[in-house]
C-alpha cells in the first residue's frame, strides 16, 4: 500500500464546496476554497460532531452547519472564542487528482 491514496479528481469538488470521502477511520471532508486550494479535515466538528462537509465555505474557513462554529481549513482549529480541533489530513495534488495520506484513511485501531 502506497503512502498516498487517490480519492478523486480535483474537479469533483465544487468551488466553495466540499465532498465526503468515506474511510475506515470515519468520514473525511475535502474542501475547495474560492481560490481553488484543497483541504481535508475529519468530517466532525470539535464542538458536537457536526458534519463540516455540509457547512458554508468562506475564505479558508468553514462554518459548521449545526451551531455555526467557524473552523480553519488550514489548521482544523476552531476560530474566535471557541476551542477545539477537527484534525487536518494531508492532501497532495498530482495533476488533476487528489491524494490523501493513506494513514489517515485506515482505521485508527489498525
Amino acid at each position: 500500500m502506497s503512502e498516498w491514496i487517490d480519492v478523486g479528481a480535483v474537479d469533483d469538488v465544487p468551488v466553495l464546496g466540499s465532498r465526503v470521502v468515506q474511510a475506515a477511520s470515519g468520514d473525511i471532508a475535502v474542501f475547495k476554497a474560492a481560490d481553488g486550494t484543497l483541504f481535508a479535515l475529519r468530517d466532525r466538528c470539535p464542538h458536537k460532531g457536526g458534519p463540516l462537509s455540509q457547512g458554508i465555505v468562506h475564505g479558508h474557513s468553514v462554518t459548521c452547519p449545526l451551531h455555526n462554529w467557524v473552523i480553519s481549513l488550514e489548521s482544523g482549529e476552531a476560530q474566535g472564542a471557541d476551542q477545539g480541533c477537527a484534525h487536518k489530513i494531508p492532501v497532495r495534488i498530482e495533476g488533476s487528482r487528489i491524494l490523501l495520506a493513506a494513514s489517515a484513511l485506515m482505521s485508527r485501531a489498525a
Binding site: V15, A24, H60, L105
Partner: protein, 816 residues
C-alpha cells in the same frame, strides 16, 4: 568539427534557446530544425492582435528566412517528426527525412485541449493555437454571423474580443462561476465580465456545454440545462496540454509532460527538452516568460556550462485585449498568515489587490490600471521586504517615500465648493453651513437637510468626515449594526444600494460596496443571496454555495448529520394514498422516527443523506412535493375544518388555506413565514400567533400579522378586514412582498413590523391601493421562477454531487 544539434519544433521556446546558444557559442553546433507548421518562427502570443486586425502576420515574425540562413540552420518546414531513434541517435520525419544528432532538443509545445463532447469534430469547430486557426476564424468572420467561444480563460477571452472586433456576435461560455478564475479573484473576474459585456460580448458563466450541434457543419451548441445557442463558428479555448507523445514513444520519461531535471535534460542525457511540452518539478507552463527562462538554461548547458540550472518560475499574466487592463501574478489565495491590501474605485472600474505574507508580496491582481504591475511583480520575485513602503504601497511606485495622507487632513484641505455628494450635487460648504446654522449632529439630520449621501450613499464616509471636522467630539458616528464583519454597511444600506446601483451578483455587491473580504463569510453570503434573489427574481441565479445546508439539500439537518423530510400537505390536508406512500417510504428506507408537526405535517426523521433523492422520488410518485420545512421562506398554512364540517364555521377556512398555500409556496422570505386560517374566532388553527393569520367571521376575513410563538410569544395585530377571499389573498401577498423587500435577512415578520412600524405597513398594503397592487404584481412575478419542486429537480439529477460521497474506502481495507 561542430556537433550536430537537432531541434524538434520551431516555436518560440526553441527559437529563443537557439538565439541564446548562438550568442554564447557561435558555430559550436550545426543545427537542423523540424517544424510541423509550414512557416518560420513567429510570436504566438501575438496571435490575438492578428485576429482582431490590429497586426498582420508579418508584424509578428520573430525569425525571418535570413536568420536561418545566417546561422546555417537547415529548416524542414511542414515536416513532422514521427520517430526518435535514440539508439542510432537520429530522428525520422513523416516524409522519410532523416537527421542524425549528437544532442537533441525536444520542443514539441502543447496541443489545444478539445472537450470530448458530441460534435467536437464538426467543421466550424476550431481551436486557438496557431496561425491556421486564426485564418479559419478570420474566414468565418468575413460573413459576420455568430461565434461561440468555449472557455473564459486568457485565450478564450482574447479570441472573443478578436472575433467581436471582426464584426461577429460573440458569446463566451465558461464552466466556472467567474472568468479567468485561475488568475483572478472573483472581484476582478466580475469587473472583467462587466467590461466584456459592455463591449457587447455576451458572457455565460457556469455554462457547461453538453453538445455541439449540426449535421455537416456546426450550427450551435446545447448546454447542460437544455439551452440551445445558434453559432456559425465554435472556438474551443479551454486549455492546452503538453505534447509529449513523441518523447513518450521514444521511451523518455514522461508524466503530463516530458520530465526534465533542473539542467533541462530528459531521462536521456543527450536529449534536452524546452517549452510547453516540459514538466519540471511537477509543473507545466503555458506562458512565455518561463519558457524563455528555460531556454536560457538549455542554451547554457548546450554551450558547455554544466552549472546552469532552472528552478521554476513565478508567472504573471496580462490580458491582451485593447482597452482592458488586467494583470495578475503569484498566489492570491487567502490564508491566516496573509494580509490583503485592497484598493477599489468602483466608478472608474479600478481594483487592486496585493497579498502580503511576512511583509513580502506573494500575489497581485490589478484591474483597470496595471501600470505598476511590473513593479509589484519585481518586488514579488525578489521577495523584497515592503514594510517600509506599506502605507503607500498600493498606490504604486510613484508614491514611494511620499508622506502618507491623513484622510482627515485631506478633507480639511478641500475648498468649500468641493463636491461631496455627486448624486445630489452637495458641496462641502453647504454641509458645514447646515450643520452650524441648524445645529445638526447626526447623519440622518444632515441627510434630511442637505440630501448629502441620501441617494446612493457611497459618500457617507466623506459626509461623516465633514461632520467630524465641523463638530469635533460632538459628532457621534451612527451606530448602525453592520451586516457582518466583512462590511461597515447595515442591512438597509446594502439592500438600498443593491437596487440603486443595480447590483446583480454577489461579486458585484462585494466589489461595488467595498467588501473587506474577498468572498464574504457564512453570515453575509446567505443574506446577499436572498437580497439578490428577492430584488432580481428574473435575472439572478441562485447561488447554492451561499445557502445554508438545509436549503441546499432541501431537508433539515439533525444533530447526528441525518436529515428530516417533510412533504407538503396543502393546508394540512392529506389522504390515504399519501399516507400509504409515507408509510411505505418510512419502511423502505428504515426511517426511525415519524412525527406529526405543529404545522399539520408529517415529519420523517433520521433519513440518510444519500437516501434523500430516492425518498423524494417515491414521495413525488405519490404526488407529494417538498414542504419547505427547512426554508427561510413560506412554510405552512395551518387550517381548521371550517364551515364544511364545523358547526361554528363561518367560511371555508380549509379551502382558503389550501388556496393561499398553493399560491404562495416556494417563495423565499427573510425568515420563515408560518400562516394559519381559522374558520371562526374560536381560532382552532391558532392563527393569532402566526406570521400571517386569517380569522374568518360572518362578514368576511380578518387579516392578522406579526405574531410568533418561538423564543418570543407574540400575539398578532389586525392588519385589516376584507369582505372577499380574492382581496384577502391580494392583501396577504402584498404584505409578504413588502416584508420580502424590507426585511433584514433572518428577521422574523414581527421584528420587521416593530422596526418599520405597523402604521407604515398598513398605509402601504391596506390604504394605498396602487401600492398594494404593485406589491402584489411583484410577488406574482417572483413566484414565476420560485414554484418548481426542488425535490423533483434533484430526483432528476440536479446537484447530484451533494448526495454522493466522492469515494468510499471503508471496505477497501477489509479486503486487503
Amino acid at each position: 568539427m561542430p556537433k550536430k544539434l537537432v531541434v524538434i519544433g520551431n516555436g518560440m521556446a526553441a527559437g529563443r534557446a537557439l538565439e541564446e546558444l548562438f550568442a554564447r557559442a557561435p558555430g559550436a553546433y550545426e543545427v537542423t530544425i523540424f517544424g510541423a507548421e509550414p512557416r518560420v518562427n513567429y510570436n504566438r502570443i501575438m496571435l490575438s492582435p492578428v485576429l482582431s486586425g490590429e497586426k498582420a502576420y508579418e508584424d509578428i515574425l520573430i525569425h525571418d528566412d535570413a536568420w536561418y540562413e545566417t546561422h546555417g540552420i537547415t529548416l524542414h518546414r511542414g515536416k513532422q517528426v514521427v520517430e526518435i531513434d535514440r539508439a542510432a541517435k537520429r530522428v525520422v520525419a513523416a516524409d522519410g527525412t532523416v537527421a542524425e544528432y549528437d544532442q537533441l532538443l525536444v520542443a514539441t509545445g502543447s496541443m489545444p485541449f478539445v472537450v470530448p463532447i458530441p460534435g467536437a469534430t464538426l467543421p466550424g469547430v476550431v481551436t486557438y493555437r496557431d496561425l491556421d486557426d486564426v485564418n479559419k476564424m478570420l474566414e468565418a468572420a468575413q460573413n459576420g454571423g455568430r461565434a461561440i467561444v468555449i472557455g473564459g480563460g486568457l485565450l478564450g477571452l482574447e479570441a472573443a474580443a478578436g472575433l467581436k472586433a471582426q464584426g461577429m456576435e460573440v458569446t463566451v461560455l465558461h464552466l466556472m462561476p467567474t472568468l479567468m478564475e485561475r488568475q483572478l479573484d472573483p472581484s476582478a473576474g466580475y469587473l472583467l465580465q462587466k467590461a466584456f459585456e459592455d463591449r457587447g460580448i455576451a458572457v455565460r458563466c457556469k455554462a457547461n456545454t453538453h453538445a455541439i450541434l449540426g449535421e455537416d457543419r456546426v450550427t450551435g451548441v446545447r448546454l447542460d440545462d437544455g439551452t440551445e445557442l445558434p453559432a456559425d463558428i465554435v472556438v474551443m479555448a479551454v486549455g492546452i496540454r503538453p505534447n509529449a507523445v513523441l518523447a513518450k514513444e521514444a521511451g523518455l520519461e514522461t508524466n503530463r509532460g516530458v520530465l526534465v531535471g533542473d539542467d533541462m535534460r530528459t531521462s536521456d542525457p543527450d536529449v534536452f527538452s524546452v517549452g510547453e511540452c516540459v514538466e519540471h518539478r511537477g509543473l507545466c507552463y503555458g506562458l512565455v516568460a518561463p519558457l524563455y527562462e528555460m531556454a536560457k538554461v538549455v542554451a547554457a548547458q548546450l554551450a558547455g556550462d554544466g552549472t546552469a540550472t532552472y528552478t521554476g518560475s513565478v508567472t504573471a499574466t496580462k490580458l491582451k485585449v485593447t482597452g482592458i487592463d488586467l494583470f495578475s501574478a503569484g498566489d492570491f489565495g487567502e490564508a491566516k498568515d496573509r494580509q490583503d491590501i485592497v484598493l477599489r474605485d468602483a466608478a472608474r472600474g479600478i481594483y487592486k489587490r496585493l497579498v502580503l505574507k511576512e511583509n513580502r508580496i506573494v500575489g497581485a491582481v490589478l484591474y483597470g490600471e496595471t501600470g505598476d504591475g511590473s513593479w509589484f511583480f519585481d518586488l514579488l520575485r525578489k521577495e523584497t521586504d515592503v514594510s517600509e513602503l506599506r502605507d503607500t504601497l498600493i498606490f504604486g511606485q510613484s508614491y514611494v517615500g511620499g508622506a502618507p495622507l491623513d484622510p482627515m487632513a485631506a478633507v480639511a484641505a478641500l475648498p468649500d465648493d468641493a463636491e461631496i455628494c455627486g448624486c445630489n450635487g452637495v458641496c462641502k460648504g453647504k454641509i458645514v453651513q447646515a450643520i452650524t446654522d441648524k445645529g445638526l449632529s447626526t447623519l440622518t439630520e444632515v441627510r434630511a437637510h442637505t440630501k448629502a449621501s441620501a441617494s446612493c450613499g457611497t459618500c457617507t464616509g466623506l459626509v461623516e468626515q465633514v461632520m467630524t471636522l465641523t463638530l469635533g467630539d460632538k459628532f457621534a458616528k451612527s451606530t448602525i449594526e453592520p451586516l457582518c464583519g466583512c462590511t461597515d454597511l447595515g442591512h438597509d444600506d446594502v439592500r438600498r444600494l443593491i437596487r440603486a446601483a443595480e447590483l446583480k451578483s454577489i461579486p458585484a455587491v462585494m466589489q461595488e460596496l467595498g467588501w473587506k473580504t474577498s468572498c464574504g463569510c457564512a453570515k453575509c453570503r446567505p443574506a446577499l443571496n436572498y437580497y439578490l434573489l428577492c430584488d432580481w427574481p428574473e435575472e439572478y441565479e441562485d447561488d447554492g454555495r451561499s445557502r445554508f445546508i438545509n436549503e441546499r439539500v432541501h431537508a433539515n439537518i439533525q444533530k447526528d448529520g441525518t436529515y428530516s423530510v417533510v412533504p407538503r400537505m396543502w393546508g394540512g390536508l392529506t389522504n390515504p394514498r399519501e399516507l400509504r406512500a409515507i408509510a411505505d417510504v418510512a419502511e423502505k428506507y428504515n426511517i426511525p422516527t415519524v412525527k406529526v408537526t405543529g404545522g399539520q405535517r408529517i415529519d420523517l426523521l433520521g433519513v440518510r443523506k444519500e437516501d434523500l433523492p430516492a425518498v423524494w422520488a417515491d414521495l413525488n410518485d405519490a404526488g407529494m412535493v417538498s414542504g419547505h420545512a427547512y426554508a427561510k421562506g413560506v412554510r405552512t398554512v395551518k387550517t381548521c375544518v371550517g364551515k364544511e364540517w364545523c358547526r361554528f364555521g363561518t367560511q371555508d377556512s380549509t379551502g382558503l388555506g389550501v388556496r393561499i398555500e398553493k399560491f404562495m409556496w416556494g417563495s423565499w422570505t427573510p425568515a420563515k413565514v408560518k400562516m394559519g386560517v381559522s374558520g371562526c374566532p374560536r381560532n382552532c388553527s391558532e392563527a393569532t400567533c402566526k406570521d400571517v393569520g386569517v380569522v374568518c367571521v360572518d362578514s368576511g376575513y380578518e387579516i392578522h400579522f406579526a405574531g410568533a410563538a418561538g423564543i418570543h410569544i407574540k400575539g398578532t395585530q389586525v392588519l385589516c378586514k376584507v369582505p372577499e377571499e380574492d382581496e384577502c389573498i391580494e392583501v396577504i401577498a402584498a404584505l409578504t412582498q413588502l416584508y420580502r423587500e424590507q426585511g433584514h435577512y433572518l428577521e422574523r415578520m414581527y421584528k420587521w413590523a416593530d422596526r418599520v412600524g405597523t402604521d407604515s405597513i398598513r398605509a402601504t398594503v391596506v390604504d394605498d391601493l396602487e401600492k398594494r397592487r404593485n406589491l402584489y404584481d411583484r410577488f406574482v412575478i417572483s413566484q414565476r421562477n420560485a414554484q418548481s419542486d426542488p425535490w423533483a429537480e434533484r430526483v432528476a439529477g440536479r446537484d447530484a454531487h451533494e448526495f454522493r460521497p466522492m469515494a468510499n474506502f471503508t471496505l477497501a481495507e477489509a479486503a486487503e
